[in-house]
């Protein structure tokens, strides 16, 4: 539980959004992905996405992506009003094809990473990150 007199209202709004929109994919997310892949099919091998299962703070969620040999990796927060988070481009001289950043999540949603691999194919990894108002553990 997470509420004090002062924060009840603000929380009420934030939490209501969480409940109304969990796991919903913003149509804009599909557009961002389609623009990146040109509508090509995506495999699931060759890309790693590391994100927490439950965010400690939805305003700054650490996310790490890695795709050996990739020329670019797209990071998408599918449930955010603006789903496109970042596109990392790797030149031929890049020592490794990985990146880490912190992103803000509007609520519980799938974070998706898509890599353009060396052979020109695309690979996708997805992870559900839960944004919760908190509980009371054992």
């Amino acid at each position: 539980m997470e509420f004090s007199r002062r924060d009840t209202l603000a929380l009420g709004l934030g939490a209501a959004v969480v409940t109304v929109l969990p796991f919903s994919v913003n149509a804009a997310a599909d557009d961002v992905i389609a623009t990146f892949t040109g509508g090509a099919d995506m495999g699931d091998a060759g890309i790693d996405l590391t994100a927490p299962e439950i965010a400690e703070n939805g305003n700054t969620v650490p996310v790490e992506v890695s795709a050996p040999g990739a020329s670019a990796i797209l990071l998408v927060a599918t449930g955010n009003p603006t789903p496109g988070v970042a596109q990392f481009n790797f030149g031929p001289m890049a020592g490794s094809q990985s990146a880490s950043t912190r992103i803000r999540l509007a609520g519980t949603q799938d974070v998706v990473a898509i890599a353009k691999l060396a052979d020109g194919s695309f690979a996708k990894a997805s992870s559900t990150v839960k944004v919760t108002i908190g509980g009371c553990g054992g």
Binding site: M1, E2, F3, S4, R5, R6, D7, T8, L11, G12, A15, A16, V18, T19, V20, P22, T50, P52, E53, I54, E56, N57, P62, S100, T108, T128, K130, T132, I133, G134, G135, C136, G137, G138
Partner: protein, 567 residues
Amino acid sequence: MISRRDFLQVSMAASAMVGASGFGNWSRLAAQQSLTQDQLLQFDIYGNVSLIHVTDIHGQLNPIYFREPSVNMGIGAANGQMPHITGADFRKAYGIADGSPSAYALTYDDFSALAQSYGRVGGLDRVSTVINSIRAERPDALLLDGGDTWHGSYTCYKTEGQDMVNVMNALKPDAMTFHWEFTLGSERVNQIVEELPFVALGQNIFDAEWDEPAELFKPYKFYETGGVKVAVIGQAFPYMPIANPGWMFPEYSFGIRDENMQKMVDEVRAKGAECVVVLSHNGFDVDKKMAGVVNGIDVILSGHTHDALPEPVLVGQTVIVASGSNGKFVSRVDLDIRDGKMMGYKHKLIPIFADVIAPDATVTKLIEEQRAPYKADLEEVIGHTDDDSLLYRRGNFNGTWDDLICDALMSEREADIAMSPGVRWGPSILPGQAITREDIFNVTSMSYGEAYRTEMTGEFIHVILEDVADNLFNPDPYYQQGGDMVRVGGLGYRIDVTKPQGDRITEMTLLKTGEKIDPSKTYTVAGWASVNEDTEGPQIWDVVENHIRKLGTISTVPNTSVQVEGI
């Protein structure tokens, strides 16, 4: 493969791991209706390594009563699996006779009557006797503390954990991991940890700013024991800043971090570990999932969800041991490690029957010293339970202790609805027993116990119930935080545990009028243990004390306000 009747030491095929549990030994005592310390401790030494596991003691220095849950649902793949079996089903699964010592220690039925026969459980002076006895056989046995140790009592609150530190140090643990300890605040935790005479472990304790391993807590430690190189990796409670107030320890970040766990397992194996033990505060279902994801762990000593299992659960080649809570049990696990492999194990969950196991006088004296300055306050009698009322906490949706706390909140803080956190710690009070101030602290003590009073819309109350329910009933264990459903007073509801978040809770009803909760209407709500900073209100133990004092005698009534579906 596991024999309950005997400590069979079956010869081992190279690929098949063989285990035995000491459970049958004390189960069989049922027929004799007698218990001795020798029987409780009987264990034919096995293999070359011994582990001793204690966890979730929650500040309980002295013997207490502790009733196990009547309702402990498993969701999805966990449905009907250990530890989500209770009562008669639990007894049947392990062949426990009704009314036996095992029935009393591990299940809830007839608790009040059996408690009269078998008495209190726990007490760190008794735990010390058990540890000493194991060390007499195997001097280099490893004592591993799963955490939730420096929290949960009057003296622990007043001394900011020092009472527990002093007494645990006398038991000489080899390593420890953490959860509620962090609610002492990071400054206090750092101060204690810096002076601990043993290692503080947590591969998932990170620096929040840099997302790098925290310096003060080590991911693992190597031990040479029985000629075997054993690595113990720590796993602190993953959801500390979410389930507890993160503002109290803003420098730290946690999470499951199973990819880092795999890295640590690989690292210790590469450094020559012949046996890998994880000292975990994940909770049982999270540990089960992690055992299937991370390769190369031999034993997980599991804590957090307070399950007491008389036999380990196997996931692949990983043995998971659950050792109960509140000082009620000690687990002994003997391992046969040869050629860098675990060839077999023998396990016993030792119930600490306080009237059977002799206290270690040195530790008894040390405990008395911790309590002496507070003796009068601890022992003051505030009220009594009547002859039919048992106060207990464990259960997914309610317990009579929480009913009483919710009543106290509604009455003392003049609220329509009360909310009380679904924690799993806190001993039981038998019918006709005096309730002391210490007893009230045992179920309420914490560093953020302010009892708030606020207004919430019906919609927001629904959001809270849905949010907490998903922390408990999400089918993926990695999204579960442990603990139980938030307890409510003055409010009834129906829950379908199989539905997704947002659809589980229906038919919310204000009990005092029988009206349905209106999403747009505002209700007065009192609660405690908010994770928000600057929460205002009197301490919950004062609220409960005032309420009990006014009532004098406590009578519990069956709570039918939550209707559960889907199981």
